[in-house]
């Protein structure tokens, strides 16, 4: 027997009212037969907007147009398909004509079966004089009198990356309008650890896995990248002569910047949503505890006081007033939350081995890695779970896919990126993404990528 939770976010309610989205129950039947739990996350499947994404019309005869338009078309299609709120019309069902402007579209053709689209995205894309000119439109096929919802024009230097970024920006405009006001994530970035031989450096990629490139070249083991809320800095921890220390890289300056060191092992930084405070694990007092300092490492103050590992803090990104973290104070690591002054400590998991917590943007959920039957020879493995904080009810998002770790929420709260190794070998770790209900899993990288961190916007 199932219980439904009233875990709807305000925006979910809004878009449910507006486009009949949302409100699909995710059923999860726990292995203990009678105890089934239901959580509705940001992502909902089922009654979604049916959208047709036309290939854009070539806007010029420049030879570059063809290849860049292919990049643009596939990126836009993928962005909308991955958004988690659309029912995408298969390209084979689209009308033959390719409209490049509002004057050229016969909206009835798109509203009628087999396309049966509620929304149509179309436009023109051309290269002239080394610059891309792109006009994008979104039409409401059900409103034949005034169908235009959105019209955007882009003009950028002609390059493959520009074509992709234009597609991302246009996709985000569409998603913003059709998702009930939640900005899209197509322009967001994912920071991660790239394994190269014995070294681990910090890398960055677009949210869809494109444009993978190195940020640091420190030639040592760097872990746990966390980007600041304004995308200006990356905090991480790096192995030096004095062990692991918090390091800071400025994305604006393109170089390392100062972060005051401290004794002991310092690791797993986490940004407060105000962008001014950083929580991290520090053993300067002899035992790993959660500390909070400013973004330069100054004014450090200790938050936890318990023997045993305290590590992997994550601020509540909505309030900044709470921290979730992992503590081994009772033995195997468990998930806890507390206020940022160290009070109101609450244990969230009831056993097993829980690690790597990420707090959802709306503040309602915790995503974490959990091995519920941890131990040599125990059944099951380490999988990604989402827990609703108010009720401590959880759902399991990955199953039998090998070891999973380091979930990180997308800015819209609809996606979770995580690391996965199918055969359990650390060298085979790759970065995967999925919707926050566990569907639409796909790999963003090949092997040798770990510890993803999704940007705040």
């Amino acid at each position: 027997m199932n219980r439904m939770l009233s875990a709807k976010r305000l925006s979910s309610i809004r878009h449910a009212q507006f486009y009949c989205l949302g409100a699909l129950l995710l059923l999860f039947t726990a292995p203990f037969a009678l105890r089934a739990q239901v959580i509705q996350t940001e992502t909902s499947k089922g009654a979604t907007v049916r959208i047709a994404v036309a290939d854009f019309k070539p806007g010029s005869s420049d030879p570059q147009t063809g290849t860049l338009k292919t990049t643009f078309d596939s990126t836009l299609f993928a962005d909308l398909a991955n958004a988690g709120i659309f029912d995408i019309v298969s390209k084979s069902l689209l009308p033959q004509s390719i409209p490049g402007s509002p004057a050229e579209i016969n909206i009835q053709q798109w509203a009628a079966p087999p396309a049966a689209a509620a929304m149509v995205a179309f436009g023109s894309f051309g290269v002239e004089g080394g610059r891309i000119t792109c006009n994008g439109f979104l039409f409401d096929a059900k409103n034949q009198q005034y169908p235009q919802v959105l019209a955007k024009q882009y003009n950028e230097e002609a390059s493959d990356d520009s074509a992709r970024q234009i597609a991302h920006r246009f996709a985000d405009e569409i998603i913003f309008r059709l998702s009930g006001g939640t900005p899209g994530i197509a322009e967001s970035k994912i920071f991660y650890v790239k394994v190269t031989g014995a070294d681990k450096d910090i890398w960055e990629m677009d949210y869809d896995g494109a444009n993978q490139h190195a940020i640091t070249h420190l030639g040592t083991v760097s872990l746990s990248p966390r980007v600041s809320p304004d995308n200006s800095r990356i905090a991480f921890s790096s192995l030096g002569r004095e062990g692991f220390q918090i390091r800071m890289y400025s994305l604006l300056l393109g170089r390392m910047v100062t972060f005051s060191g401290a004794g002991g092992t310092n690791l797993s930084p986490a940004w407060a949503p105000n962008g001014k405070d950083i929580a991290y694990s520090s053993s300067r007092s002899g035992d790993p505890e959660i500390w909070i300092s400013d973004a330069n490492g100054s004014l450090a103050r200790r938050i936890t006081t318990f023997r045993g590992p305290d590590v992997s803090p994550a601020f509540n990104p909505r309030t900044g007033a709470q921290i979730a973290w992992i503590s081994g104070r009772t033995g195997l690591p468990q998930l806890y939350i507390m206020d940022t002054d160290g009070s109101a400590v609450q244990r969230m998991t009831d056993g097993g081995y829980a690690t790597s917590v990420s707090w959802s943007p709306n503040g309602q959920f915790l995503a974490f890695a959990w091995d519920r039957k941890y131990g040599p020879g125990a059944p099951g493995g380490q999988d990604i779970y989402v827990m609703e904080i108010a009720t401590k009810k959880w759902i399991q998002l990955t199953h039998d896919g090998g070891r999973c770790d380091f979930p990180s929420w997308s800015p819209d709260g609809r996606h979770i990126v995580y690391a996965n190794t199918a055969d359990g070998k650390a060298s085979h770790m790759k970065i995967m993404t999925m919707l926050a209900d566990g569907t639409d899993k796909r790999a963003l990288t090949g092997p040798g990528a770990d510890m993803p961190n999704w940007s705040w916007k």
Partner: protein
């Protein structure tokens, strides 16, 4: 009354008479027995031998330091000290010998010659010959690993096991006997579990070893702790024996 005064006056006259007689007669008898040749300022057979003492303070010095010589003589006419030359009959002098020296004092006098010596030891530092001295100090790498053995931990635990306590005792006695050795304690975990948590756990393991060593008398400032978590695996097989090798606090020389 008058009878007493008369008798006293008689007695005084008698005394004066005897004194006068003695003065006139006695002297001549004595002077006649003196041998003039024996008259002189220092008759030879009667002159005592000179004495000589010399001391040094301190008796042993390091090269470059100085020492105070102090000598005394009696019945001497001249005193010399080898290496210094003629000196006063009694005196002190500060000297700074460059190597161990016997200060030899000769006191000459009419009564003869007397000698005295004092030995001042100068400690000249031996020029260090670098490699052997250091090796002796630090002990060899092999001896270190033989005596200071890695300690192993139970699964997801940072409590010292009984076998680890034995290793710690042996390690502490070796380290206490070789005070020049500094040690890096590395904390390691097996590759199960999560990277961040394992780094904290490794820190706890290394700190447990450090605390045990300091409790056994090893100075804390000789011990440096680094957690490697699961980032540096010794053994990469998925077996319990392999995992056990990775769950350890490892000691190495801090150079």
């Amino acid at each position: 009354m008058s009878a007493v005064q008369v008798q006293l006056r008689k007695s005084l006259v008698l005394v004066a008479t005897f004194v006068t007689l003695a003065a006139v007669t006695g002297c001549h008898k004595k002077a006649s027995g003196v041998n003039p040749s024996t008259l002189g300022p220092a008759p030879a057979e009667a002159a005592p031998a000179p004495t000589a003492t010399i001391t040094a303070d301190p008796l042993a010095i390091d090269l470059g330091q100085s020492v105070v010589l102090n000598w005394r003589s009696q019945n001497a006419t001249s005193v010399t000290i080898d290496g210094i030359g003629p000196v006063n009959l009694n005196g002190t002098q500060t000297v700074s010998p460059s190597n161990s020296t016997e200060f030899h004092m000769t006191a000459k006098g009419d009564g003869g010659t007397t000698e005295a010596t004092v030995r001042v030891t100068v400690r000249v530092p031996v020029t260090p010959t670098a490699p052997p001295a250091n090796t002796a100090d630090m002990g060899s790498e092999a001896a270190f690993h033989q005596n200071v053995q890695d300690i192993f931990f139970d699964y997801d635990s940072f409590d010292l096991r009984p076998d680890a306590s034995t290793s710690i005792t042996q390690a502490a006695s070796y380290l206490n006997a070789h005070p020049a050795i500094k040690v890096v304690i590395g904390g390691y975990c097996d590759d199960r579990g999560s990277a961040e948590y394992n780094l904290a756990l490794g820190e706890n393991r290394a700190n447990a070893a450090r605390t045990a060593l300091t409790s056994a008398g090893v100075a804390a400032n000789r011990l440096r702790v680094i957690s490697y978590g699961k980032e540096k695996q010794f053994c990469t097989e998925e077996t319990e024996s392999c995992w056990q090798q990775n769950r350890r606090a490892q000691f190495s020389l801090d150079r």
